[in-house]
Symmetry: C2
Subunit: 218 residues, 2 copies
């Protein structure tokens, strides 16, 4: 199956579908149409149907999609029907926030190890995980079969941490640092740098703001 290359745009919509479907499930709604999903998500129903059809025939003509069944299918597509272990480097505020987040998530993604480069952080406790030194990274990743690395260190340390993740054989990296990281093709990197979202948001503000235009250049 899964023959044709699926576009990134499609893959990025799957977690969104999953989110709405989970909400529907909680509200005990059993069936949903692409039409209804489209309204909720501001997406074209044809697009939703097409996205899902890349992976199989999940719906029933004249009826729609069974919510629980579709949840299960999307989870399978995203490989969430197994527990995926995650290591986090950078035990600062953000790292702590993510670890906490973790325990509420039932998505079978689990942060199971936390590391930091700074000696004073080593040994401290975060959400029942003890912060370990980077020297332990290789051993722990191998032992726990960790497949994803999260980077929550300052920008200037990010590439260095990424390199270490790559060396120890992590398959995917989620980077929170506001830096452009170089990784080999076989490692997938996603950026969760919120400053990008914040800056692009600024573009869409109305123009009224008191622009004091202090541009030195011309």
């Amino acid at each position: 199956m899964k023959s044709a290359k699926i576009s990134e745009a499609v893959v990025r919509r799957l977690p969104i579908y999953l989110q709405v479907l989970n909400e529907l499930h909680i509200r005990e709604i059993q069936t949903v149409s692409s039409q209804e999903l489209g309204v909720k998500l501001d997406l074209n129903p044809a697009q939703i149907r097409k996205d899902l059809a890349y992976f199989g025939e999940f719906g029933r003509k004249g009826i729609g999609y069974d919510v629980l069944y579709l949840i299960e299918k999307i989870r399978q597509i995203l490989k969430l029907n197994q527990t995926i272990k995650v290591a986090l480097v950078g035990a600062g505020n953000l790292g702590r926030a993510l670890c906490n987040y973790n325990k509420y998530s039932k998505d079978n993604m689990q942060i199971t190890a936390v590391f930091d480069v700074h000696p004073e952080k080593i040994g401290t406790d975060i959400n029942n995980l003890v912060v370990q030194p980077m020297s332990e990274l290789e051993k722990v990743v191998a032992e726990q079969k960790i497949r994803i690395g999260i980077i929550t260190v300052p920008a200037h340390e990010a590439q260095n941490v990424a390199n270490q993740f790559i060396t120890v054989g992590v398959e995917g990296i989620l980077n929170f640092a506001p830096a452009i990281l170089r990784v080999p093709d076989e490692v997938r990197i996603h950026n969760a740098d919120f400053t990008r979202e914040l800056l692009s948001l600024a573009y869409y503000l109305n123009h009224e703001g008191d622009v004091s235009d202090d541009s030195a250049v011309d």
Copy 2:
């Protein structure tokens, strides 16, 4: 000028350009070509030139782009040549992390007020800001001319907070909660929900993982 509607894809690349340019500036590099930027960012040079050309003629034929000048121009485009004030609701770990982040940023975006719905958080201190009750939101937003709202509350409270932001006239919202929020057309909403990035990252992992395939449905 700025006549044609600029596509979202273009706007989302601007902060990335800004990031590389800032790095180049720190390294005291004065001029850069679209070719060089392309290599750094894994983007087609023609695309970079085209993106920038939507906003003006910033480069010099045969030479390239002056780094400092281009930084200034992109900052103008993103409206960062003014201080944009931001309010944050949700004084949890993530909220605290963002406030801290804040002080290092020189992007003229500033979190100037923090709120929380829970009484026990009110009055506590976050990075020199006192957490205020939601009842103060309207007054503070008006007084400080706050234009962007950040949501760092749990998913089930997010829509409620968004509604309050909308009521008090915020122009843009950055949502960190893993929830789909409904906002009117005139309010811009960007999502910084990292679970989406994490789940789509899982899709790209290699297949090897021990899939115990415990799917109950068929």
